[in-house]
């Protein structure tokens, strides 16, 4: 199909001559996707087959990626690409299903919790229904299954259970004989994600022990503490897999310290997304120009263009007053204030104009 254009260099050359773009197949996307959204060439399309409620604020989306998608390993995540109110957003989610399922029927699942105040997770819950099509990236991440049959300890909090679901279901299939323990922290009974899968795994796979703790139930709140490790034999021999909110991960680090595990026994994956700086953060901050590997400090209201130039970088510019967009480039992280409107940007990746953007706190720029 059209995607072969991208793979053959003479065709790519010809495509560039005819369509003035590096992804010539993408020229046809506006028409192709009108006929069938799954034919998109600019990104891998995936159709939502069904949406299942897990908990009051978490849903599982069953997706059918187009045949161009390369698959994944248990524990990996993907970026989804969605257009909401005209703006394209990328967000990262773990594939919560198994590679075996994808090989059998071509489907994968994403289990997505509404982030409080979050723009895209809430939009997905409110707007994405069976039949819709979104874009997905290839899978990435190295929260991989153990190489050999060693005893395992999983510690998960909230939606951090998603890679663990994929791991456990994959291991259960093998079947995995070494002991596997899961400590799973949720606020209340109702917040357990993947309850059905966990129950059926525990019932049919003797090597697995599942312990679920409720951190918000009345007086006996069960935040993680040393007693939770009591029933885990040979803890110091185990491969430990951690995924959850930062507070939980930090606490686990402290609690595990006495057990003397080696670094290579501990596997972590972070779900944290960048957060906005408080409104009263002073202007200026630590600036990273990622592509040139330059770090500088700035204070006061100097715009990024001047900061970059002071650091001997030579970003493109024209008017230096916000008109011409010659200086537009990607901010990958951090908050900037637009000098013309006085408005603060979001904390994530977006296009900004260097000449009128003043950093507020640490900022990374792709130049």
């Amino acid at each position: 199909m059209l995607s072969t254009i991208e793979k053959s260099s003479p065709l790519r050359w010809l495509g560039k001559q005819l369509f003035n773009r590096n992804d010539p197949a993408g020229f046809f996307d506006p028409l192709l996707t009108m006929i069938n959204p799954m034919w998109a060439q600019g990104f891998v399309a995936a159709r939502i087959e069904s949406v299942i409620d897990e908990t009051p604020d978490t849903r599982t989306f069953l997706l059918q990626p187009s045949s161009r998608w390369h698959g994944f390993r248990a524990g990996q995540h993907i970026n989804i690409i969605v257009d909401s109110d005209g703006v394209r957003h990328h967000r990262t989610f773990t594939v919560s299903s198994t590679p075996a399922q994808w090989r059998t029927d071509g489907t994968i699942t994403l289990t997505i919790k509404r982030a409080p105040g979050g723009r895209i997770t809430n939009w997905m819950h409110d707007h994405l229904q069976a039949g819709a099509t979104i874009g997905i990236s290839e899978a990435f991440g190295d929260f991989d299954l153990p190489a050999g049959p060693s005893p395992l300890l999983y510690i998960a909090g909230g939606s951090g259970i998603t890679p663990v679901l994929s791991h456990l279901a994959t291991l259960a299939d093998s079947p995995y004989a070494a002991p596997v323990s899961l400590l799973y922290y949720v606020r209340t009974e109702a917040d357990v994600i993947g309850a059905e899968i966990l129950n059926s795994l525990a019932a049919n796979w003797p090597a697995l022990t599942v312990s679920i703790f409720h951190t918000e139930v009345g007086d006996d709140s069960q935040h993680i503490n040393p007693s939770h490790f009591k029933n885990i034999p040979e803890l110091s021999e185990r491969q430990v897999y951690l995924c959850g909110p930062k507070g939980l991960m930090d606490r686990v680090d402290e609690l595990l310290a006495p057990f003397g595990l080696r670094d290579d026994q501990i596997n972590k994956t972070f779900f944290s997304a960048p957060t906005s700086v408080p409104l009263d953060t002073p202007l200026g901050g630590a600036i990273t120009f990622t592509r040139s590997s330059v770090n500088v400090e700035s204070d006061g209201d100097a715009p990024l263009l001047e900061i970059a130039e002071a650091a001997d970088l030579t970003p493109a510019y024209g008017c230096r007053m916000g008109i011409c967009h010659q200086c537009s480039c990607k901010k990958t992280e951090g908050t900037v204030i637009n000098r013309l409107t006085g408005k603060a940007s979001g904390p994530g990746e977006e296009t900004i104009q260097l000449c009128i953007s003043v950093p507020q706190g640490p900022v990374s720029i792709d130049i």
Binding site: Q17, N20, V87, H325
Partner: protein
């Protein structure tokens, strides 16, 4: 005569215009994304339709349809998509195929060169004689700011050549041939630019004049003729639209001294006075890339252009509030004054004034 504004008035003019921009900015969303995507689909349909029909151009009505289809495709791509995307009007959509800094359009001029000469030089120094090289394209004398010399008497011929070969003229604009002629710079100073020009120009010529004729070999002459016609139509239309934007009778020019330490208010003031609109149907606006709303475009170059007709009444009201001329008229009447300007300033000043010719307005 247009009002001169003091600094306080200029500041309040800036605040009034900023308010319009902020309210449109805050409202950008689904509607704008849908609009540009619909236009892009239309472009793809017209381009593919034109290319497919062209080999059957031995049937005269099919030839006409194919040329119209491909010509319209090029016009829409250059004006409503390319020009506007490169201004950053759709950067906020975060769609990699609509990013100002990477978009490459279907014309000889490289996007990089265009962003430099047009987005920056022309939009920053609009109608400042000596700084805005778009003012007359260093080829035409359009005001008495530049001295008359005998070559100017034939400038109507230059104008016709420029409009017929407009895409090549625009492509070579950054060469600054007038400075090369004056030996201020040499060709070697422009090596990188020329490399880019030959690569892009070669690519455009290859596709329209070699590749598509060759793959339809038995009817190659028809396809070649059709592609030349489509490019010609686009050249004539785009140059005419652009000339109507700044070279009408009432469009004013500015001196370099007037923009020393320029305030934002004065920049706005200059954009309002140096630009001119023309009226027309919805399709005239679309095919002009909404440069029919040149005034709105020049005050808000990075707002999605299809918004210009919506905010035009507000901009016009602001002009009236400050006693500034809001230069608009029908397409025909505006174009007539452009031709008049080209003709009048081809004459030596004394003769022109004796004949009761045009006086240029400099604010």
């Amino acid at each position: 005569m247009t009002a001169k504004l003091n600094q306080q008035q200029l500041d309040s003019l800036a605040a009034d215009l900023d308010a319009i921009r902020d309210s449109v900015r805050a409202d950008l969303g689904e509607r704008d994304a849908k609009y540009i995507r619909r236009i892009i689909r239309l472009h793809r349909g017209l381009e593919i339709g034109g290319r497919v029909m062209m080999p059957f151009g031995f049937i005269p009505p099919v030839f006409a349809a194919a040329v119209a289809s491909l010509g319209l495709a090029k016009i829409i791509e250059n004006m409503e998509i390319g020009h506007n995307v490169m201004h950053g009007q759709y950067d906020w959509m975060n769609d990699p195929s609509l990013q100002s800094q990477t978009y490459e359009w279907d014309t000889v001029c490289t996007s990089e060169s265009w962003r430099q000469t047009h987005n920056f030089e022309h939009h920053t120094y609009t109608n400042v004689i000596g700084k805005d090289r778009d003012y007359g394209y260093a080829l035409l004398r359009l005001s008495d700011d530049s001295k008359w010399h005998p070559g100017h008497s034939l400038q109507f011929i230059n104008y016709i050549l420029l409009t017929v070969f407009f895409q090549w003229g625009v492509g070579l604009h950054e060469l600054e041939s007038e400075r090369i002629r004056r030996r201020e710079i040499g060709l070697t100073d422009k090596r990188d630019f020329l490399k880019g020009f030959f690569r892009k120009g070669g690519r455009q010529a290859f596709k329209d004049y070699v590749f598509f004729p060759l793959i339809t070999f038995p009817v190659a002459p028809i396809v070649l003729a059709g592609n030349i016609s489509a490019n010609l139509i686009r050249n004539l239309w785009t140059s005419t639209v652009i000339f109507c934007g700044h070279f009408t009778e009432d469009a004013e020019t500015f001196s370099e001294a007037s923009i020393e330490n320029e305030s934002r208010g004065h920049w706005y003031y200059r954009q309002l006075l140096g630009s001119s609109n023309f009226t027309g149907s919805k399709w005239v606006h679309i095919l002009s890339g909404h440069l029919s709303h040149q005034i709105e475009h020049h005050v808000f170059p990075d707002l999605p252009a299809h918004r210009y007709p919506e905010i035009a009444p507000q901009v016009e009201a602001i002009c009236h509030k400050y006693g500034l001329n809001y230069n608009t008229g029908s397409f025909g009447s505006q174009y007539r004054t452009v031709l008049k300007r080209i003709a009048h300033f081809s004459l030596p000043d004394r003769l022109r004034l004796k004949l009761g010719g045009m006086t240029a307005k400099q604010a």
